[in-house]
Amino acid sequence: MLWLQLTITGLQTGALYALTAVGFSLIFGTTRVFHFAHGAAFVLAAYVFYWADQAGLGIAVGVILAALAAMAFGVAMDRIVYAPIQRHEGSFFTVFVASFGVGIAVQNIVGMVFGRSFVTINTPLSNSVELMSGVYVAPLTWIAIFCVAVFFGALQLFLRRTHTGVALRALADSPELIRVFGLDPRRISAAAFALGSLLVVPGAVITALGSGLNPALGSHVMLISLAATIVGGIGSINGVLVAGFVLGLAENLSQIFVQSQWSEAVTFAILFLVILLKPAGLFGRIQAR
C-alpha cells in the first residue's frame, strides 16, 4: 500500500503547492511582475504564525496575523519596490533582480531572528491516524485538501463576481486599456499582490504545523510555484492548480523509484518535459505578443 500512502501524502503536498503557485500565477498573470519574493511572503507568513504560537496567541490569531503579514508584504513590494522601478521604465530583469534581492534579505532577516535550524509546532493535527492497513493520514492532510477547495473556489468566485476580480482579469489583458476605462492600474495591481500573497497562508500555516520550517524554505516554494506556473500554463489559474497537484504527487510517488532527496529533480524533469513537448504549458495558449 506504499503507493496509496504516497498518493495521499502527495495530495497534501500538491494542495499546498497548488495554492501557493496559484498566488504566484495570479500576480504574474495580471501584473507581469516576476515576483520572486513570493517565496519570502510564504516564509514570513509561516514564521509570523510560528511566533504567534510561541507567544501563546492561539491558532486563529496566528492565522490572521500570518495573513496580514503576507498581504502587507505583497502590497509593500508592489508599492515600494516594483512601482518605482516601473515608473522609471525599468526592465523585466531589473524587477526580477530587485525581487530576488528582497527575497534573500527576508530569508536572512528571518534567519537572524528565529535561527537557521528547523522549527516545528507540536500539534495533534499532525498525528497520523491509520486509515486502513498500512495507510496513515494526519488531520492536516484533510485540512490541506479542504483549504485548497475553499480558497480556490472563493478565488474563482471573486474573479468572476466582484468588480475588483473582473478588473484583475482585465488588467491581465491590457493595463493601458484599464486606464482608458478610468481605473487606476496601480490599485488593481495592489489587489493582485494582496490576493496572491494571501494564497500562501494555508501552505505556510500547514507547513509550520506539519513538516516544519526553516528560513531557506522560500526558495523551494518559489521554484515549485514557478514550475507549476509553467507546467500549468501562464495565465491559466486552473492549469496551475492542476500542475501543483501533479508536482506534489510526482514528488511523492517518485519515492517508489528514487530516494526522497531526488524528489526535487523529479519536479524539474517534469518541467523540462512540458517545456519540450508543450511549451505553452498543459492548459496555456500560445499568444502572439
Partner: protein, 238 residues
Amino acid sequence: MSLRPILQARGLTTGYSEAPVLENLDITLGEGEVLCLIGHNGAGKSTLMKTLFGLHPAWEGVVELDGRPITGADPKALSRAGVAMVPEGRGIFPNLTVDEIFDLGLWAVGVPEGERGPRRDWVLGVLPMIGEFRHRRAGTLSGGQAQMVSIARALLGRPRILLMDEPSIGLAPKLFQDLLAPIRALQLQEGLSILLVEQNVREALKISDRAEVMKSGRMIWQGRPEELSDNRKLMELY
C-alpha cells in the same frame, strides 16, 4: 467660433523620449459639436488624444475643461468629469464577456449601483445590436461588434465629451456608416461634444460640424467639412 469651448488645449507640446510629436498646438472643441481631426500616420493625432485624456503627459501648454485647467489630470479624474475615450484599435478586454466589460465600465466611472441596470438598458437602446452578443466573450467578436462594444462602453458614463480615435480601423465603409449613424443621432439629441480622429475622411466628414487637418504635430488647416471637401488639394492628400 461661436460655440462655447468645452475642451481646449493651448500651446501643447509633447512627445516621446526627446523627440517632440506635438509642437505648440492649439485645439478647441466646442460644446455640442463634432470636430473631425484628419492627418496622415505620424501626424500626432493619437498622441494628441492621449494627452487630452491624460494617458500621456504634456511637456508644455495647458489643457482646459470648461475653462478650468486640467493639464496632468489622470483618465480617472477626466472620466468622472464627463470625458470618455474610445481608443484606437479594439477597446475591449478579449477575455471578458461584453456584460463584464459593461459592468467594469459602469463601476469605473462611479455609476451608483441602482442606476447601472437602467444605464445599461439605455446604451443597449442606442446600439441595440449589442443585445445579440452581450453574453459572448469579447475576444470572439467581429471587428465591427468589438468597436460597437468599445463605443457603448464609453457611453455608459453618459459623457459630455467623447474622444474617438480612429473607430473605422478594420471596418468596411458601410459598417462604419452604420456605426456612426446612431452616435450622430445621440450627439444631436444630447448635445454631446465629439472629437473624432479619422483616416476615413469622407465618411467622417459626413457627421462632422468642423474639421481640422494636422501635419507633423501642428494644425495646418481648419474649416467646415464642405470647405474641406471642396479643397481638392487637401482631399487628394487625405
